[in-house]
Symmetry: C2
């Protein structure tokens, strides 16, 4: 790319019709950002030619049904370029983005927020913005397709078949989770994933050469990808089509197409500079850009001939939908049994009926054990009744106990298998699992690591919460009681940190009954992710019912007939200590209730009456004690006395840790007695 191109009338594709469509995309972005006086014009201007090729020539989709199951998926990992997506959705016939919506870019409650949000705008597959997440999500989408194709397709009848396209920029290319995910995608050989690297050499701080001089193509080859180049990314639409065709021919590797562009192509004075990245071009520069690209239309006008061309996709989409319906009919008649599941999962994005019974049964049959073992029981109870359950661990399967036995490893050549082996890649794991869910075809993903390593995947967890993704973050080794591995591995503040996160269930079940109830809630909710924390060490089985546990918090025992003098609140492995302390207090004639609280958020969803029955307001904070092997932070909401740990742990056997940090029956009982 030479900046010299950016003077006078610019070289364009050589195809006047294409130029007109491409420039429509560019100016919708330029003008929307200008009106909002906020946003990122540079990416849409540079990527408009590729976007045109994808939406006009390559991708299959049905604008009138954004959820058409066999649509090709498109993910803008560089989410700041959101106007690219909104321009495309508008031009190619989606109802979700009108021209008025584009005029409302970045305004309150608009369909066109600053970054693409899947929950705001039909046609946006994925919420992107935090860099690197989108490419991981795209890999998850491609893995979902591979899995469902292997599961449902038959030699004579193929019902699952789509490509996943993703655009990522320099920012995404620097992020570590992108590296993790790309390594996995290469390992898995996801041939129907085609990613485009918008190689424009500009990021917020200026030329990327200031901080980024690696050979990206060589790196992706090292991961096992096919790497192709389009050197003239501002003009060479034929080269783009060829590259995509070549990518499709390579069926056992994902493809990265490195597309060299000028950011802000068309802007005479700001192209190829950070000035085009994240701010409106300004009135004069917008005019100069119109001049340079020979664009005669006023802001927000989509030329009629452009629109009649692009909106042909409405009819094409209807046809695709029709063909797919026929294919489904054929499948139904040939494979009626398979079709039932296909219909539930892929067509309805639903769960088979009756699955919850398996959890209730497992709860009854499972005795005292470490809750990580309980979790293993629950996952394996669910596996046969929830065919959409897929997931795995970040190289800790044998510690997290998250293998679904008998369901094989998802690997190249065996995509029908349901156990994923993510390697030591927590962040990408979380984000890829988000992508599995966002394929919206009945997949219920889980992903596992030690509770402490949620620190590495917090970006993905938050995106799950914000994007309303049903993803289960199953974690084990949930407290200092993991023992000798010491403070680098011992969570302290983690429970609090997730309880503070919006739209997330932080679950810490104490036994099989609670774990079953929590898994049921985690599976049932389709719009809220869960973080689950399970113990390494053994715990008791409590005397509670599934219905009680399903309330998030409940009175486990009470010798006061509902009028306790004091309440002992415990979670997970510390409920046992509360029981012991309560017995000691009761032996002294005190009226004490024990509350087990596996999930704050579920408890808060209950009726005011129920909540009052569990935590009667007559009991003052000074008579409510919490015992939890984690930070006391936040517990002031429910209690005033804390048997918690607010500093870092230590490397020692569990017995010694109990002594050192006050988690013996004696210490907890003494603290409970101090309330009287």
């Amino acid at each position: 790319m030479v900046a010299a191109e950016v003077s006078g009338k610019l070289r364009q594709t050589g195809d006047a019709k294409a130029d007109k469509i491409i420039n429509t995309i560019r100016f919708l972005a330029v003008d929307a950002v200008e009106k909002a006086n906020s946003g990122h014009p540079g990416l849409p201007m540079g990527m408009a030619p590729l976007a045109y090729v994808l939406y006009d020539k390559v991708m299959k989709y049905n604008p009138k049904n954004p959820l058409f199951p066999m649509r090709d998926r498109f993910v803008l990992s560089a989410g700041h370029g959101s106007m690219l997506v909104y321009a495309l959705l508008h031009m190619f016939g989606y109802d979700s983005v009108t021209i008025d919506d584009i005029k409302q870019f970045r305004q309150a409650n608009s369909k066109t927020p600053g970054h693409p949000e899947n929950f705001m705008t039909p046609g946006v597959e994925i919420t992107t913005g935090p860099l690197g997440q989108g490419i991981c999500n795209a890999i998850g989408l491609a893995a979902a397709e591979a899995h469902l194709a292997a599961t449902f397709n038959k030699p004579d009848c193929e019902v699952v078949n789509n490509y996943t396209y993703c655009i990522l920029g320099d920012g995404c290319m620097m992020e570590g989770l992108q590296s993790e995910a790309a390594s996995l995608a290469g390992h898995w050989g996801l041939g129907k994933l085609i990613a485009f690297y918008d190689d424009n050499s500009i990021s917020i701080d200026g030329r990327t050469s200031i901080a980024f001089s690696e050979d990206v193509g060589k790196r992706y080859e090292a991961y096992g990808w096919q790497v192709l180049y389009v050197k003239e990314g501002n003009t060479d639409i034929i080269g783009m089509e060829k590259a995509i065709a070549e990518a499709k021919l390579c069926t056992d590797k994902p493809t990265l197409v490195i597309v060299t562009t000028l950011i802000g192509y068309g802007s005479p004075n700001k192209a190829d500079s950070y000035a085009a990245h994240g701010a409106a071009l300004g009135k004069d520069e917008v005019a100069a850009t119109r001049e340079a690209l020979d664009w005669e239309y006023p802001p927000f006008e989509v030329p009629q001939d452009v629109l009649s061309h692009t909106r042909r996709k409405i009819a094409e989409g209807a046809k695709l939908e029709e063909e797919f319906a026929k294919k489904c009919e054929e499948y139904k008649s040939k494979y009626p049994e398979d079709y039932k599941l296909f219909e539930t999962m892929v067509l309805k994005n639903d769960l088979p009926s009756g699955w919850e019974d398996a959890l209730k049964k497992a709860a009854q049959e499972t005795g005292a054990m470490a809750t990580r073992q309980v979790s293993q029981v629950m996952l394996n109870a669910l596996a046969p009744v929830l065919p959409g359950l897929v997931g795995g661990s970040a190289d800790l399967a044998s510690s997290n106990l998250t293998i679904m036995k008998g369901y094989g490893d998802f690997l190249k050549g065996q995509y029908e298998c349901r156990n994923f082996r993510f390697g030591v890649r927590e962040h990408a794991m979380g984000a890829i699992a988000n992508g599995l869910a966002l394929y919206n075809a009945g997949l219920i993903p889980y992903n596992a690591t030690f509770f402490i390593f949620t620190d590495y995947q917090r970006g993905a967890i938050r995106m799950a919460a914000l994007s309303e993704i049903n993803n289960m973050f199953v974690t084990t080794h949930d407290s200092i009681f993991l023992g000798e591995d010491g403070p680098t591995h011992q969570p302290i503040e983690h429970l609090a940190s997730f309880r503070a996160m919006p739209n997330l269930y932080m679950m810490r079940p104490a036994d099989a009954t609670e774990a079953a109830a929590m898994y049921a809630i985690a599976v049932k909710t389709r719009k809220t992710p869960s973080v689950m924390a399970y113990t390494r060490q053994g715990t008791s089985k409590l005397d509670a019912t599934y219905e009680q546990a399903s309330k998030g918090a409940y009175v486990l025992s009470d010798n006061s007939g509902g009028k306790p003098e004091a309440i002992l609140i415990g979670t997970g492995s510390e409920v046992d200590l509360c029981i012991a302390a309560a017995e000691a207090l009761r032996a002294e004639g005190k009226k004490v209730s024990v509350v087990s609280m596996p999930c704050w958020e579920v408890f808060e969803e209950q009726s005011a009456e129920y909540k009052e029955s569990v935590l009667p307001s007559s009991v003052p904070m000074s008579k409510r004690m919490v015992c939890e092997a984690g930070s006391s932070f936040g517990w002031t909401k429910y209690a005033g006395v804390f048997a918690c740990i607010d500093g870092f742990g230590a490397s020692a056997p569990i017995k010694d840790l109990r002594e050192m940090f006050g988690f013996t029956e004696a210490a907890v009982t003494a603290k409970a007695k101090s309330m009287f």
Copy 2:
């Protein structure tokens, strides 16, 4: 590597003396893990030959002074192999690890915790365990050396000169932060960094081929590293020495030596399998390993001839120290001015005197502006008086406003410069900055991103807190009021999540006075990191003193003479709203105090009397309101009424966000009035 080697008597290095030392290392590890019945024998067994080469033949250090300034640094990024380090420290003459300490491996309060902890064991440079952190820290150590060498060395007198060595395993190699950091190290051309990849093809879930098939060497070449290979890593110590020599010859690139080994080398039945990774070998296998390696000594016996050989390092270390002292004298006489700073920073790891005055002055001179601008003022006030201040942003320098003007960019060929350009690599940035601090030579690092992206670097922040590292995590765009970028970029739970983390200051100053006081505390504390949150939008200048602000929380205004009916607590940009609400209440005759609370943790360090004066216990929770544009989570500790935001934000201009989420003067005042 062929497993067939592991039968009968094993092939060793061919150098009987070396074998004896190497096997001493191996059996200290094997026997310590066996006694603890917990730990990771596999790595020390496989890496013992390389460790021998490093500690016996290559590295310069002074066992009797673990902080000898010009020591070569060694980082075991694969921290689970901690027994390797403890064996080396013991054998090569450090006082910190006695044989009794080794017998106490993984026991309470021992010098030999499960993972290496810098704050427990002199000679351990860095706390490692969470995978990938160590290699980033090592890159920070190498960058520190490059910077200090460029700053202090003269053509005729070189006072700074050491290498940094790092061992990383398959786990580290899969982690994304490692990729980020390696890309930067290549970009920076850190020629004195030599990393060894223990390529043993085994991780916890079995053979790495299940999840990891990339070409690591090719990937590192893509980053701009020199990549060398030692194919027979269990035996070829000559090859290792040659590789290190070759690495040293390459002065403009870091070197990765890929050392192919068998995990658990020597164990006939467990080598080359995950069984050797993370558990004691078991009595029979320990015996079989003794047999295979021809090891006749009982547990914990270090043969006398081994010890007399390895402990020669004590004399060599004393000599190194002596030579260095001479070199310092020479430097002092030739460059007395430079020496003063060199002595303060490098020799004493101290701060020059008087630096705090610059902050006080800046506080007085700086008026109302966005607190990110205030932060810029403070950094630039500190830069000339704190020559050890180094840092930068993850490609957001122009938004974070973190450039120290006139101090240039730290890049290949200009290592004396103090502004780091980290690219879009938040996690590596945090961990590299941790390494800069851990060089222990007066460097005060800061690193910057948007507050939301602390989600990406949380692993590094926690390691800073645990490892007692003085690192300043400077963040901006600290609330929904960043505006149009929307909820993907708007922090909600982040303040709470850091307040819950042990040994961390979470600072949210409201103006220049508070920011100056907070920066002073952040610089002064040498064992506690800070996360600072600054606004994008403008704020007022408060009527407060530096001394008040230094308390962490203080009464900004009070019309009650110390006996308020109600308290309004604010932080950062919301203090303004509290002031407005207080004025409205006072106009109605109410006695109200306004408390500004830039830092909970600093406030909690104050005397009980002071705390009572700020938050008198006579004011019930129902008459204490907090206004903060973040989650209310945790604030129940101080208040009972909340003008906070507990859900996700939205993409809109700031004015609309204020209306949508109740952060107008009218809304906050109404909420304050509702307390009466």
